[in-house]
């Protein structure tokens, strides 16, 4: 019998804790630069598409009766085929991790430090990340149980700080932004989404319970709602200048009366978001490690996460100047590859046979 690595509740919590935290830093500014005051709608569009695929993956996985994604592929296209597909997914997860890690690094350096060198301030993250990857899906689930409260409280705190100076008339009129801008905003920022990828890799590793689909979709909807409210509130505070507020968590509370009287209490929320983000940006690398382990046929080895994180650390260290170039490449081209692996591959699963596998 398979030992389940994560529970339905933990999947829900990981969506709220990690997938929410990862979208809190630059997403608002980038979406605002394309979709203007309709940034919240771009976010909702992305959430809607992702939500639909999450529902679809959860539904289709019922057909495979407890098999995980690798086993489904193995049954249908053989061991070698499954390994090839997983190698491609490993690359996808690796690339998916790149921008959020670089974004977090920039956030940390610009908002929390002034002169400290990167090698000292951010590089220790990869030691943690390697450990987190080594611990795998179980760590995602259990850490989400704690981190969810931190993330939710921090986001609610930031929204509360925003409301004081928010002028929601900035979001009006609704109709003068072309739909193409809204959709373009959605596509260009979709690298922060594709959360259905994680669900695809969770299948077979959690025990189905009553209302599994409703619970997971509910959690995803809460995440979507919080992001939509946060982006809208940020735009309501900064108006057209939102696209300049790259590090929203330390900007939204800047002019709050509480901040002026007591001190930069918004930094506490920023620190908390940064804490949740430490896990969140490592999550794609956890799945990358999982894929690589499947490809090379090992399990629970220390070397795989160490190598993956070392490569990522080197990449971050030597390419940090090219954030915008990489962002342009990933949001312009790589997102279509993401879309293929997050949306098209699950659709192909419709034609795969059920089968069974000896464990």
């Amino acid at each position: 019998m398979r030992e389940y690595k994560i529970s339905v509740r933990q999947i829900c919590f990981s969506l709220v804790a990690f997938s929410l935290a990862i979208k809190m830093i630059m997403l608002t500014a980038v979406t605002a630069s394309i979709s203007g005051r309709m940034l919240w709608l771009s976010a909702i569009v992305n959430f809607a598409v992702d939500g639909l695929f999450i529902l679809y993956i959860l539904k289709i996985s019922e057909k495979f009766d407890g098999l995980d994604f690798y086993e489904i592929l193995e049954v249908n296209i053989g061991k070698v085929g499954a390994k090839i597909v997983f190698a491609l997914y490993a690359i996808i997860f690796f690339v998916k991790a790149y921008i959020p890690i670089l974004e977090q690094k920039t956030f940390i350096e610009i908002t929390l430090y002034e002169t400290s060198p990167t090698i000292l301030t951010f590089m220790p993250f990869f030691i943690f990340s390697a450990y987190f990857c080594f611990k795998g899906m179980r760590a995602i689930g259990r850490c989400a149980d704690i981190a969810v409260w931190l993330t939710v409280l921090a986001v609610l705190g930031l929204i509360a700080l925003t409301l004081q100076n928010a002028d929601f008339s900035e979001l009006l009129p609704l109709a003068d932004i072309p739909l193409t801008d809204v959709l373009s905003g959605g596509i260009k920022t979709s690298l922060w989404y594709f959360d259905s990828l994680y669900i695809l890799f969770f299948i077979g590793h959690f025990k189905r319970e009553k209302l599994t689909k409703t619970k997971i979709l509910g959690a995803f909807a809460i995440e979507g709602l919080m992001i939509a409210v946060f982006t809208a509130a940020t735009f309501a505070e900064f108006g057209v200048l939102t696209e300049r507020q790259f590090f929203a968590p330390v900007k939204v509370g800047l002019f709050s009366v509480a901040t002026l009287n007591i001190g930069r209490i918004d930094y506490i929320a920023a620190f908390v978001i940064a804490t949740s983000n430490v896990f969140a940006i490592a999550v794609p690398l956890v799945f990358c490690t999982y894929c690589v382990n499947k490809v090379i046929g090992v399990d629970g080895k220390v070397l795989t996460p160490v190598i993956i994180n070392a490569i990522m650390a080197a990449l971050i260290l030597f390419t940090e100047k090219y954030l915008y170039v990489f962002f342009g490449f990933i949001s312009g081209y790589a997102v279509y590859a993401f879309a293929f692996f997050a949306y098209v591959v699950p659709l192909i699963m419709l034609f795969l046979k059920k089968g069974s596998i000896k464990r």
């Binding site: 933990q10 929390l112 220790p124 943690f128 259990r142 620190f271 804490t275």
Partner: protein, 480 residues
């Protein structure tokens, strides 16, 4: 080697094994028609009982008898017949008295051990204003009697064993059948059986041997000096280990949350108990994080400090020759030295030293301009707070040092990273199959009835799910 019918040969064989020590007595007397010899360790034998209940009745016997018949004249319950020289030697060393008879190939072994023990007193740790005053002692018998006083059920099981090649220390495994998970009992029993050591001076030795993660900084075996706490833990589904010679009884599996619960919480109002538990958590966070946050704020994140507080700090650090992190390390070092000295010194000198250290030394350091007042204040607060959860002081004091080092070198993000690392480590750690951070990671709603916050004991109707007890109900069910 078997006993010889010739008592002199048997005595020689025994002397060869254990006779080198001067406190091993070979006392010759006559028993009816037989020459007899009582062999015992003088320092651990109840000589009054030996004289009155063993030797005196045996001396009154007349005629010929078998050893079994002779044993009936001994007016004590713990009498057995033995014939192996090695067994006799072991029993004598364990506090038994062996009676050898000339012409017999069997000897009597009578349990007459008597160790000097202190009387039952209030434990120095886990003190409470309300609740029982009794605490465990160094005697395993006394400790078992304290537990038997509470648990008058045949489901309460005590499994005795010996650990230690030289010390042969008595170890009792305690659990309640039907409540403790059988796999847990098996696991602990197996671990105890695997211990290979020459001696066990204290239960902490056993704790170190049965740790699942031996290199871990974090405590993995619970301990208590209070029988009422032990009872509560057994009723929750844990198992206990009493070690002869130690007043600290071990409990397994250990959850981090249990050290935030004091015995008194259950005897007072739940509202007060919850306030106190919250204070303990805040104090623990203070003790670990406050010095490091203060240092990182000064070095890297000055904007975090409110303006007025910032001005106070700026005024107080003028002319201080040490950097913020070195300053904090220096105060921490002084604090640890004072702490270590006051513990090791004789009690009254220690108290005086504490006063001299805290007041005079601290004051002088500030006036001399070596350290700043806020830094002393922060470290004092941290130093006091650490003792609100005394059971994990060893861990928290090291964590404080690690956090301080990272805050001084990496700053706030270092604190974030080490916190995340700790969280990941603790959430994925299991202790005898039980998650270390339960009931919070994984979240177990039922078990949160007695976590960092607690319900009234009348509302704690079910046993903690995490211990996988078969009997799940504690209150409101006749099966409970």
């Amino acid at each position: 080697m078997e006993l010889n019918a010739n008592i002199n040969i048997s005595k020689l064989a025994l002397k060869a094994l254990i006779g080198e020590s001067d406190d091993i007595i070979f006392f010759d007397f006559t028993c009816g028609e037989y020459d007899a010899c009582a062999v015992y360790v003088d320092s651990i034998t109840d000589r009054d009982m030996l004289g009155m209940e063993v030797i005196s009745p045996l001396k009154k016997i007349e005629g010929k008898h078998t050893v079994k018949e002779l044993s009936k004249s001994v007016t004590l319950a713990n009498v057995e017949l033995v014939s192996e020289i090695r067994t006799i030697a072991d029993l004598v060393l364990g506090g038994h008295t062996a009676i050898l008879f000339d012409g017999k190939k069997k000897a009597l072994s009578v349990d007459l051990k008597k160790f000097e023990t202190r009387s039952i007193a209030e434990p120095p740790t886990g003190f409470s204003i309300r609740g029982p005053r009794s605490g465990f002692t160094e005697s395993i018998k006394t400790n078992l009697s304290l537990m038997r006083r509470y648990l008058k059920t045949d489901d309460f099981i005590v499994e005795m064993s010996e650990v230690g090649k030289m010390t042969k220390t008595g170890v009792a495994l305690l659990y309640i059948k039907g409540i403790a998970d059988e796999n847990l009992v098996k696991g602990v029993r197996a671990r105890l059986g695997k211990i290979k050591t020459d001696g066990v001076p204290d239960s902490s030795y056993i704790a170190k041997h049965i740790n699942e993660r031996r290199g871990s900084l974090f405590k993995q075996v619970g301990s208590t000096e209070r029988p009422d706490v032990m009872l509560e833990r057994l009723l929750e589904g844990r198992v206990g280990i009493i070690v002869d010679g130690s007043p600290f009884v071990l409990t397994l599996p250990y959850l981090l949350v249990e050290d935030f619960q004091s015995a008194e919480d259950y005897y007072i109002s739940k509202y007060r108990a919850n306030v106190v538990r919250t204070i303990r958590i805040i104090a623990l966070l203070f003790s670990i994080l406050l010095p490091s946050l203060f240092v990182s704020a000064q070095l890297f994140h000055i904007q975090l400090l409110p303006q007025n507080f910032l001005l106070t700090i700026i005024n107080s650090i003028k002319g201080i020759p040490l950097s913020p992190s070195l300053e904090m390390f220096f105060i921490l070092l002084i604090f640890e030295i004072l702490n270590e000295t006051s513990v090791r010194m004789p009690k009254y000198v220690g108290m005086a030293l504490g006063v001299v250290g805290a007041l005079v030394l601290g004051e002088t350091l500030v006036h001399a301009g070596i350290v700043s007042t806020p830094a002393v204040l922060i470290m004092a607060l941290s130093g006091i707070s650490i003792y609100t959860v005394p059971e994990i002081v060893e861990t928290t004091s090291i964590l404080r040092l690690i956090f301080l080092f990272l805050a001084g070198s990496v700053g706030g993000y270092g604190i974030i990273l080490i916190s995340a690392f700790m969280l990941c480590y603790l959430t994925t750690s299991d202790n005898y199959g039980v998650p270390y951070l339960a009931p919070y990671a994984p979240l177990i709603a039922n078990d949160m009835q007695d976590g960092f916050q607690m319900k009234s004991i009348t509302d704690m109707k079910r046993r903690p799910v995490v211990f996988a007890s078969r009997n799940k109900t504690r209150r409101g069910n006749e099966n409970a």
